[in-house]
């Protein structure tokens, strides 16, 4: 199986986010970065499918130069090669632009399966994968918790709301958006990290691909949400705060 995994590099989960003076985005240079959480699960699923059925795992990413680190990390875990469509615009681009850039970056090469995460932790559009599927003319299914190859294609388990699921059968080639928790992700080995350095990473620019970005939506301003609810905070040492909370729950909220 020839598999593409789309992965995005996003600010690390514990990042202290501070809005830049102009209010257009967060102060990017202060952050550390990691692979978007569901994308790490998508990568793991791709690697497992390759181990089972043979083939190749190619990692595709649109992002600034620093995103190469995410691709190398994926290679250290076992991805065979990488494609980076490099441009700072992807830090906060709309999924319309990103999907078009990724489609161009794949360069008409034929793949059996494309995996993406279901949603990015920073922009959270939940669109890029499905949009890419349409651009490439592929059937798709989203929020996937299980992938099995079967005669004539795939059988996948789609997560629905409130603890419900559904199996969907589909032909290949296809695109799936993967939900966190589908598998248990592996760690990179020292050997893997060493090998990753020698694997092929193709860097492409938008100019080389002949793509001009035409966003369909733009972020005008980013800000800390105004709180509408007043939370009563218990101050003091842990012991004092704990005692106050028990008091409140007993005598004010009367829930104990």
């Amino acid at each position: 199986m020839k598999i593409v995994v789309c992965l995005k590099q996003v600010p690390a989960k514990d990042s202290l986010l501070r809005v830049e003076a102009a209010g257009g985005w967060v102060r990017d240079s202060e952050l550390s970065y990691e692979i978007n959480e569901p994308d790490a699960f998508a990568l793991e699923e791709g690697l497992r499918l390759k181990e089972k059925h043979g083939g190749e795992v190619v990692v595709a990413c649109a992002g600034p130069a620093r995103a190469a680190a995410a691709i190398r990390e994926a290679m250290a875990k076992g991805a065979d090669r990488g494609i980076l469509v490099e441009d700072d615009a992807f830090i906060r681009a709309d999924s319309f632009s990103t999907a078009r850039a990724l489609a161009a970056g794949l360069g008409g090469e034929a793949f059996d399966l494309i995996l993406t995460g279901l949603q990015s932790d920073d922009l959270g559009f939940a669109q890029t994968g499905v949009s890419l599927a349409h651009l490439l003319g592929l059937p798709h299914a989203t929020i996937i918790m299980q992938v099995e190859a079967q005669e004539g294609g795939l059988r996948v388990k789609r997560e629905l709301e409130a603890g419900w699921f559904q199996h969907v059968e589909m032909p290949l080639p296809a695109l799936l958006t993967i939900q966190s928790g589908i598998n248990k992700v592996r760690y990179a080995t020292l050997m893997g990290i060493k090998k990753a350095k020698t694997k092929e990473l193709k860097r492409l620019t938008l100019a080389e691909l002949g793509v001009t970005l035409a966003p369909r939506q733009t972020i005008r301003r980013v800000y800390v949400p105004q709180k509408t609810k007043r939370t009563e905070l218990m101050e003091g040492t842990p012991k004092e705060a704990a005692a106050k909370l028990v008091e409140k729950l007993k005598f004010e909220a009367r829930v104990l």
Partner: protein, 326 residues
């Protein structure tokens, strides 16, 4: 420049978020001074059409076809793309459900237009709507505007628009059933039965007190500390998704959009950031208390009481305080 609200139904029952999308669509229509139509997609829709026609909409557009009886992204996209092109609807409002997440980005791409997803607010500035949505899992908000020509697609987040304030229309709206051109070969995926996993052994929905733990507890080795607190409170243990994904607690203890919906008299969230998918599962709790080291964590948006600090110091202190006060 009319507004079209796409309602969601499943086997003849509305998805309740549809009404919030309708409320958002009507608000947008009022702000822009444009008429609002509502669409429903499926096969046997008579009762739903009548119910929808009672709302204050200009007309009901009912897309009926045997191939739309079961949801597929190909079927829904084909039918809705044609409807949006024919009606020239400029603003298309949808509920941000799992199903909408599955087809709306495809619909937008087919229409070569933008989709602003998961919107929590809107206002009109200089004749153009500005939409508010969350970034970084609720830690920041963004004002977002559309670019390029219409149509413009918007999906709305649960809890952001008031369905309880919908007023019926003066007279029933006309129901139209535009012809749907759809062939089975256009539908490439085959959906099978919907199912639930093995029966649950814990019923969080009936628990009076829930101590719910998130990724902040770091690892399963810290669960005994949380269990001790739960015992001191006579509480059931709940969890956020990553805790169940990592196998620290079984899936049946997950609270949220893909887990259980709970409404205890006390919900104590420990090391949970408060992403919307978690909040929808516990917002109905009578009293919410949260322990988190980050004072800006979105969980404090729903918490009545909070302690900002290190949970590994606070939880044992809380257990001790409970034991000594009883």
């Amino acid at each position: 420049m009319s507004v079209l609200v796409v309602m969601e139904q499943q086997e003849g029952a509305w998805h309740k978020l549809s009404w919030e999308a309708l409320a958002a669509g009507l608000e947008l229509g009022r702000a822009l001074g444009e008429p609002v139509a509502a669409a429903v997609v499926g096969e046997a829709l008579d009762a739903l059409e009548t119910e929808l026609a009672a709302q204050a909409v200009e007309r009901v557009l009912s897309l009926r076809h045997p191939l739309l009886a079961a949801y597929t992204p190909d079927g829904y996209t084909t039918a809705l793309e044609a409807l949006i092109r024919e009606t020239k609807a400029a603003w298309v409002v949808l509920p941000h459900t799992y199903q909408v997440r599955d087809f709306a980005p495809k619909l937008a791409t087919a229409l070569d237009c933008g989709l602003i997803p998961d919107v929590i607010g809107l206002r009109v500035e200089g004749g153009a709507p500005v939409f508010v949505r969350q970034l970084f899992q609720g830690k920041l908000n963004a004002d977002v505007v559309f670019e390029g020509p219409p149509p413009y697609l918007v999906s709305v987040q649960a809890g952001a628009f008031r369905a309880d304030q919908l007023q019926p229309g003066a007279s029933p709206a006309p129901v139209e059933r535009p012809a749907v051109a759809l062939e089975s070969k256009q539908i490439r995926t085959r959906p099978l039965e919907r199912f639930q996993e093995a029966k649950r052994t814990v019923d969080l929905a009936s628990a009076a007190i829930i101590v719910s733990v998130g990724r902040g507890i770091k690892g399963p080795e810290n669960l005994p500390m949380m269990e001790e607190l739960a015992r001191a409170l006579g509480a059931e243990l709940g969890a956020s998704r990553p805790v169940c994904d990592s196998g620290w607690l079984p899936l049946e203890r997950q609270v949220g959009s893909s887990g259980q919906t709970v409404a205890p008299k006390l919900y104590l969230a420990i090391g949970i950031s408060g992403a919307i998918q978690h909040l929808v599962g516990m917002k109905g709790s009578r009293t919410v208390a949260a322990i988190n080291k980050d004072p800006t964590a979105p969980i404090f948006e729903v918490a009545d009481y909070g302690i900002v600090g290190d949970l590994f110091e606070i939880v044992p202190a809380l257990t001790a305080a409970l034991k000594s006060s009883s």
